[in-house]
Symmetry: C2
């Protein structure tokens, strides 16, 4: 592993590519367009960002984003796209995720040279692994806490997202855990509102979960959404520990990096990372940051689960992007400290997508969340859960779902209903 | 002020506009495409997001973003744009900025209905003002701490951003404060790296600042970048208080909401909000969030200064956008709690833009940062600072800069050199 921070970007510019890449490197190390006193050749050699590679990708018809400007002379009339790799000395940032964020993202998106700029990938020196804790539970810890081995965890999201009282929420959880689910989570819209105060909701849900655990010997995991101000989050974590809760959900983009890092320090429960707002970063192919870069910040910060959308989802993301994200969650970040996390599939999922999810990911280290695909099963929620297990069983045994469905009626009904 | 949260969006869709707006409201309140058990008409009436207005803006040639899908039937072959206003009961979120973030941004960007979606504006019920502290110092406090009244604060950013030792940084600060500056800040790339440890840099810079304060009776404000993990930020704040520091800089997008809120609770110094990474939100006209919405989160969280770019900047932002941002910083958020903050102008600024900045903003409650425009002044840094003051003086007196420059040689040289 290099001792440099290495980032690659997709860019679009009317500047000659070398000049555009040099502007990126300049802005993100010396920080101005004009040579400043003190900006000696020695300083630039040691601390200047370095352009390691430029791979031209061809011209486009017109600028993807407005307001970019070309050079006064020597520019191209039509923008060119390219993949540019830039690296920095670790001395520039130290092992700080906040400074890494400013360095690899920062002002780059606003430079007038670019009608498009997106961070595609990020490689970090081992010093980051030494400085940050990474996941406390990760895949194995999640399996131990839930008692689920050798198969994916199957879960659901409490819906309607808002409006249920704590009692109504507990009733719904009763029904869903009763149907055999391993995992239940709050919607990201449900925090600590007047109509469902966190403490009351949490207590009532845990009472239900404990009752089922007494019966089954396995305790369903409840990812309760603590995302909020730090005092409240710490109080809620304490409550969880006292009450035997096993998982806290964090909306990464609203809590933010330093908040997530702080919670990881205080937490003795699994941290479920939700990416609500993620579309801001990745919805445009030519602006923002890819999930391959994004998830590295949060894995180092210490979450155990990360959302990756689902195959054939209700959103815009193509399946290959979902799979690339999920595979990356299970790919070690550092040799000594893999920081692998459990990918969470959700969004219009049912038994229909389960087999492909397993086959394409090549692993059952995942959480598979379905809502309508469980509660909307024609034979009820229990059959809905069973249909998903059966779809994974079929895939694991290499049997097509339709064949396996012949003597598995829950799966058969699910394929007919949701296929 | 309504007791509802009101947000307006620019959308682009091939769905009939009513259907598209309903999908937004549904996703951000009930949260699924399918009616769920428990989603009663009573619950929906009370907690469902409400579409308050739809203003069609016409068709566009082709989708701005890929992967959107139209309805199976009844859709438009070409996408339409519209301005949509949606509101939520305060009961949905309670006074939580994190839940507000999930509610007004959240999954919206990923909905398959949209080939473009941007949050344009946000109105909040007074309960948010009651729950969050807002700025501790704001404009008046910044003036008291710096002793600068009746004119803008003039400042600079330490450059080169990376690579200077603490001694070299202090030398540069000596020169710049000696030249008459009110305000100095770290670059957002400079945190607590091995080559310039925060504690050593801060101590050396403060020694220089104190020496000048003894001479002039006014203490220049040093916005030292503490952005990082919370333990370190709290340690650095303590150091500041002990040592007589007056300002901490926070990179909002890397520290995040809960971190900034937490720091505001512990801080007794001015908080300088830097928006590095802002381009992710606003670089596209059809994706993300406008500054008019964005800055409300941070003002409530409690920063005292907010960056707004500068007129004729080196980046992509048009002047009207810069001015709208700056005006919004000075516009009260709530009748009882204005939360107004000082806008910070920077990026390729010099005496050339000062007059227009004052005239267009209609206020001198601002911080005006220049680098090359000061240090690159042909008669030296002191003349650079003087030229900016002279440009503001001229504007305040309603005299064209070129006329005023006739008997103000520093301004004259600046206009000739940077104009």
């Amino acid at each position: 592993m290099s001792d440099r921070i290495v980032a690659s970007y997709l860019i679009e510019t009317c500047y000659p590519l070398e000049q555009a890449a040099a502007a990126m490197a300049g802005e993100q190390s010396s920080g101005t367009f004009r040579t400043m006193p003190g900006e000696t050749p020695e300083l630039m050699a040691r601390y200047g960002a370095r352009v390691d590679a430029i791979e031209p990708l061809g011209e486009v018809e017109q600028p993807s984003l407005p307001y970019a400007r070309g050079p006064k002379q020597g520019g191209s009339p039509r923008p060119q796209q390219a993949r540019v790799t830039i690296s920095w000395s670790f001395e520039n940032t130290g092992a700080s995720l906040a400074t890494l964020w400013s360095t690899t993202l920062g002002n780059l998106f606003e430079l007038h040279h670019f009608s498009g700029l997106k961070l595609l990938s990020l490689q970090l020196p081992d010093a980051f692994a030494a400085a940050y804790p990474g996941p406390q539970f990760a895949v194995e810890g999640t399996r131990q806490v839930t008692g689920v081995h050798g198969r994916p965890l199957v879960g659901t999201i409490i819906k309607p997202s808002v409006g249920l009282t704590p009692d109504a929420t507990a009733e719904l959880v009763d029904r869903m855990v009763g149907a055999g689910l391993d995992f239940i989570k709050d919607d990201e819209l449900m925090g600590d509102p007047p109509h469902s105060p966190f403490a009351e909701r949490f207590e009532k849900v845990m009472t239900v979960i404990d009752r089922h655990a007494d019966r089954t010997g396995r305790k369903a995991m409840y990812a309760a959404n603590i995302s909020g101000d730090l005092d409240a989050m710490r109080r809620q974590l304490d409550m969880m520990e006292r009450r035997g809760g096993t998982c806290a959900m964090l909306v990464l983009n609203s809590v933010g990096l330093s908040g997530v890092i702080e919670i990881r320090k205080h937490s003795r429960v699994v941290l479920h990372g939700h990416r609500a707002g993620w579309g801001v970063y990745d919805r445009s192919p030519i602006l923002g940051m890819s999930y391959l870069a994004y998830q590295k910040f949060w894995r180092l910060a210490g979450v155990d689960h990360l959302h990756v959308n689902g195959l054939q989802n209700k959103f815009c993301e193509p399946d290959e992007s979902v799979l690339a994200s999920a595979r990356e969650c299970l790919t070690p970040m550092f040799a000594e400290k893999p920081c692998t996390v459990m990918p969470v599939f959700s969004s219009a999922q049912s038994a229909v997508q389960a087999g492909d999810t397993f086959r394409q990911l090549g692993s059952d280290d995942l959480i598979f969340c379905a809502g309508g695909g469980i509660i909307g099963h024609p034979d009820g929620a229990e059959a809905g859960v069973r249909s998903i297990h059966e779809a994974f069983d079929a895939a694991r045994q290499g049997i097509p779902a339709e064949v396996y469905a012949e003597d598995h009626p829950a799966l058969k009904a699910a394929l007919a209903s949701f296929g």
